[in-house]
């Protein structure tokens, strides 16, 4: 009898131990069914029609609602999403898209080639407001092959076309919703993404709930609430107080404190956005290449990154962001060397009596005015007289697109952040002769036939390795010509509660809380 009692006791002990262990294991296990995550953001969405968007944050929201045709990974590779696979003709002119089958929009409408064609037709329709149409402007024709195959013919070969399909601009919109809401689709977005818009209280919050019909794995978070908190300090306070779970773009000056908090995780991958001081290559003192090179030597970019930007950026070591396909660290670097700068100015017979006009936006980019003021001080330190003018963004941007005869731009701060991780969008978009204002956005008015040739060839080249070589060639030419003071590549900063695991944060300023877990 005693033996039995002893055995029973042992069994109870073992059971209790197992239960305790189970509890411990359970508490350490990540929870994959989260009722709600609240994200503190700075701005409200103007529209949730993905074709009308230009800003990364509402684009992020659109992506959660609509998904994308393909997904560009953080290392610039393409993964299938709503397009299961694609083929490119040997001449690079025809793209055949194989659509994912068995997908439905969140309103139950089937997703097929007809639906996707409608999306493309709307994006290409000149009557529609599609600010970023240039991304797909090379499309000549879109035709349906069968229910799940779409063929896109380009006007000319354009190698970065495939990554362009990762943009929400071409994310399929439910045809039934288009018919029902018309232009008001911007208020009632219906897509095939992991989330569905539940509520949009203007200026206050945007609430999304899980799309129960989503074709992919079921999202772990049932509800995402984007709370609009314009003041960064308040957003940070809310994160510390536990009133939000994710803080979008906290203030760099407070990052050290946030990083020191064990309850908060800070992520800051490199962004595609580069910040530069444009130098007018056709007019004024900066038309001389030696002067432009001198200005590059005169500025201590590392000090700007450390002291002004609190290391939320890295100095540029090539003309595009390091995360782009086509990036190459340039062999020659313009390290801080004021003596060399003075020497080059002397060689260029620089007129020190002239006052160089500098311009800067205020509040558009991170510490833009302060960075410009630092550059002004650096230029003054090598004897260059400068005058810095500050503008609000609408006034500033109005001065960028003027033709060379009218432009007053000499030295001006600007940023450039393409959504596609491909060097072409910066190299061609800023430096090809054809983008000189007023036709394009290359406000530095840079023009070099040798560079044009290299970048044009890169657009035609379908072999990635050969294309990479051509992009590097183009980069070397423009790096030497210095149409910009090459400043820095920004980082995309996001802070969230440490118990959140598995957040995906990209350099195109996107984040995906879709499959996070909570520990």
């Amino acid at each position: 009898m005693q033996h039995i009692i002893l055995r029973l006791k042992n069994i109870i002990w073992i059971l209790m131990l197992m239960a305790g262990l189970g509890l411990i294991l359970q508490s350490a296990e990540a929870r994959a069914d989260i009722a709600e995550l609240t994200i503190g953001i700075g701005i409200d969405a103007d529209t949730l029609n993905p074709q009308e968007q230009t800003t990364s944050l509402p684009m992020n929201m659109c992506e959660l609602i609509f998904d994308t045709l393909v997904y560009q990974t953080t290392d610039a590779k393409l993964e299938p999403r709503l397009v299961a696979g694609h083929e490119i003709s040997s001449d690079g002119l025809v793209y055949t898209l194989k659509l994912r089958q068995g997908v439905k929009f969140s309103d139950g409408t089937p997703y097929d080639a007809k639906a996707l064609k409608l999306t493309f037709d709307r994006a290409l329709d000149p009557k529609m407001r599609v600010p970023l149409r240039f991304i797909i402007n090379m499309i000549k024709e879109v035709s349906i092959v069968d229910d799940y195959t779409l063929q896109i013919t380009l006007k000319y070969p354009f190698a970065p076309f495939a990554p362009s399909l990762s943009q929400v601009l071409v994310s399929p919109i439910s045809p039934a919703a288009i018919e029902k809401y018309g232009d008001d689709i911007r208020q009632h977005p219906v897509g095939a993404g992991p989330y569905v818009l539940k509520e949009w209280v203007k200026g206050d919050r945007i609430v999304m709930v899980r799309n129960e019909n989503y074709y992919g794995p079921k999202p772990t978070v049932a509800q995402l609430t984007f709370r609009i908190v314009p003041e960064t300090a308040t957003r940070e306070a809310m994160l510390r107080a536990g009133q939000i779970d994710i803080c979008y773009k906290p203030l760099p000056s407070n990052l050290a404190a946030l990083e020191a908090d064990p309850n908060i995780t800070v992520e800051m991958p490199l962004d595609t956005r580069v910040i530069f001081m444009g130098l007018n290559c056709k007019k004024g003192v900066t038309a001389n290449k030696l002067v432009r090179q001198a200005f590059n030597y005169a500025v201590d970019k590392k000090a700007i990154v450390n002291k002004i930007l609190f290391n939320t950026a890295v100095p540029m070591e090539g003309p595009v962001s390091p995360i782009n396909f086509g990036y190459h660290k340039m062999e020659h670097q313009y390290g801080y060397n004021p003596e060399k700068a003075k020497e080059l100015l002397k060689k260029a017979n620089f007129d020190f009596s002239k006052t160089v006009q500098m311009r800067t936006p205020n509040g558009r980019y991170l510490f833009d005015k302060q960075v410009s003021e630092a550059i002004q001080a650096y230029l003054q330190a090598i004897g260059v007289k400068t005058e810095l003018r500050t503008y609000d963004w609408p006034t500033y941007v109005a001065g960028l697109l003027k033709p060379i005869e009218e432009t007053e731009l000499e030295v001006f701060l600007l940023g450039w952040g393409p959504m596609v991780m491909d060097a072409d969008l910066t190299l061609y978009g800023q430096f090809h002769s054809s983008v000189n204002p007023p036709k394009g956005l290359g406000a530095a008015h840079y023009s070099n036939p040798e560079f044009d040739k290299a970048i044009e060839e890169s657009r035609l080249e379908q072999d990635p390795q050969k294309r990479l070589a051509l992009l590097i060639r183009a980069s070397e030419i423009v790096w030497d010509d210095c149409p910009w003071i090459w400043l820095h590549t920004e980082k995309f900063v996001i802070a969230y509660k440490s118990k959140i695991k598995g957040m995906v944060v990209t350099g195109t300023e996107l984040f995906y809380p879709t499959y996070v877990t909570i520990k």
Partner: protein
């Protein structure tokens, strides 16, 4: 009285047309192109031109104004250039929040400011008077932005008693209304103090006292009643200012009000929203003034609008 009100209401029409005219042309004198801001930095010049045409900004300015006035006559404020939503929808989504915050703040300001001013006037140069005047000085000098952030740090982050920002419950109103009321309460307290000091030294108060009336009755029934007209004027003006000037408080506390809408719209050169919202502010301001004038008649029997 009714005739007076109707007359006043009719007189708002030319005032509003005046506001619309000034605003329309002044906005267009600002540098910056709404189409370019809307299109984003990467859009091509063709796309910008396309948007300009869609917004009707390529038409002559007088034609644009005429079209605007015709729409206005139909109570149509147009569509936001940024969101493409009707401006009325954008305004109505935020107006109740602005009104709520302004009403709570002005009520708080009156509840604290008027008694503080009276007590301070009744006991001039006493410790309580110094306390009130010094607090008022602090209230008026403290930057709204700083005060708001301090309240957030103390009550939301450290004590975790109240939400740091947003809307949704009565707790959300507390911190922004205190911040907004801080300046107004100081202003009202100082105004009440000086007016009360003046009335308390006048002959009719001396008469009331010599009649043997209690000091409480002298202060409230005689002195305060006579000091009310300037106080009501100040409260009315401050309320009008609160309606439009709460943008800093709205920003700190993520309060979705009209002030923030206007600032965002100015930064995006969203002309229809700026015009619509300022017109509504103008209308509210006129209404507040009308109500203040009517209250005069209630408080002072000598004022009649017949």
């Amino acid at each position: 009285m009714l005739n007076y009100i109707i007359k006043r209401l009719f007189s708002t029409v030319p005032v509003l047309i005046g506001i619309s005219l000034l605003l329309f042309f002044m906005l267009r004198m600002l540098p910056g192109d709404p189409a370019q801001v809307l299109a984003g930095q990467m859009a091509t010049p063709e796309e910008i031109e396309n948007i300009r045409q869609q917004l009707g900004l390529d038409r002559p300015i007088y034609e644009q104004y005429a079209a605007y006035l015709i729409r206005l006559a139909r109570l149509d404020l147009g569509r936001s250039a940024r969101t493409q939503n009707p401006v009325t929808q954008e305004i109505w989504a935020r107006l109740p929040n602005t009104l709520l915050l302004a009403v709570v703040a002005i009520t708080l300001a009156c509840l604290f400011g008027i008694p503080a001013g009276i007590i301070s006037a009744v006991r001039p140069y006493s410790w309580i008077d110094y306390l009130v005047t010094t607090s008022a000085l602090f209230g008026m000098s403290m930057p709204v932005f700083w005060l708001g952030l301090m309240l957030v740090v103390v009550f939301a982050v450290i004590l975790k008693w109240l939400p740091a920002g947003g809307t949704g419950s009565w707790q959300h109103v507390i911190l922004p209304s205190i911040t907004l009321a801080a300046f107004v309460v100081a202003f009202i307290a100082r105004m009440t103090r000086s007016t009360m000091l003046e009335t308390l030294s006048q002959d009719f108060t001396t008469t009331a006292r010599s009649k043997g009336l209690q000091e409480r009755v002298v202060v409230i029934k005689h002195a305060f009643k006579n000091a009310m007209i300037p106080i009501i004027t100040v409260v009315g003006l401050q309320f009008g200012l609160l309606l439009g000037g709460a943008v800093l408080t709205e920003t700190v506390f993520a309060w979705p009000g009209l002030g923030r809408l206007i600032v965002d719209s100015i930064l995006a050169r969203d002309y229809p929203v700026i015009q619509g919202a300022i017109l509504i502010f103008g209308l509210l301001y006129i209404m507040v003034n009308l109500v203040v004038d009517l209250i005069y008649a209630l408080v002072d029997p000598r004022i009649r609008y017949d």
